[in-house]
């Protein structure tokens, strides 16, 4: 398995501000994924981030709103720009160990936008 850590575990911010969520893996991983989950709903894949390349975004998510960096094989950040109350949700990073398909998740970052 791979252990993923996220920081912060929760945040409250004002509308119009930006915030960064960090994800750190305990081993090198090829792909890191970012998910959004609204309360009582399923997970939505936002983007896939591979080291050294631009993240690939899913429909409904844009680089301008949710820029993602992947500077090395153990780290990724998700930024929420111009946060709005509709962005209030839990954000998860996930990944798989090399050569393994099982996905493992970080503990999530619970964001509340006022």
């Amino acid at each position: 398995s791979v252990l993923l850590y996220q920081k912060p575990n929760r945040d409250i911010c004002q509308s119009g501000t930006s915030l960064k969520i960090q994800c750190v893996a305990d081993s090198q991983v090829v792909s890191m994924f970012w998910y959004q989950q609204f309360q009582e709903q399923s997970l939505m894949l936002m983007a896939t981030a591979n080291e050294g390349s631009e993240a690939t975004y899913e429909s409904g998510f844009t680089k301008d709103k949710f820029p993602i960096s992947r500077p090395n094989l153990t780290f990724s950040t998700l930024t929420v720009n111009n946060a709005r109350p509709g962005d209030s949700s839990i954000y998860f990073c996930s990944s798989s160990p090399r050569g393994v398909y099982e996905q493992y998740f970080g503990p999530g970052t619970r964001l509340t936008v006022l």
Partner: protein
């Protein structure tokens, strides 16, 4: 329509009883994963299946890639089994396509 149809959406069991969750897939998928999300929001990977069945304690999962479905059986349910269970199918680009979840409540 949805590519992964998960049922039931909610389930209430008494301790010691057994039941099954199911996911139907509308398109071919190479694999399925099952997750449990606890009340704190943490997601735990229960199973990865490319075919056949796997068992872990009181949990057993099966994946039929030809008939396009997967099941998760919970035997002798315990209070700690409460949570929301998700299945996720492997998409064409190796991304996961998620079911809508089953909220499971175990009653004493």
């Amino acid at each position: 329509g949805d590519q992964v149809e998960q049922s039931p959406s909610a389930l209430s069991l008494h301790e010691g009883t057994s039941s099954a969750l199911r996911c139907n897939f509308t398109t071919t998928t190479r694999s399925v994963q099952w997750f449990r999300q606890n009340s704190r929001g943490s997601l735990i990977n229960l199973f990865y299946l490319a075919s056949g069945t796997k068992e872990n304690g009181r949990l057993k999962s099966a994946f039929d890639s030809k008939e396009l479905y997967s099941t998760l059986h919970i035997r002798d349910a315990q209070l700690e089994d409460s949570g929301t269970y998700f299945c996720a199918a492997e998409g064409s680009n190796y991304q996961l396509i998620w079911g809508s979840g089953t909220k499971l409540i175990i009653k004493p």
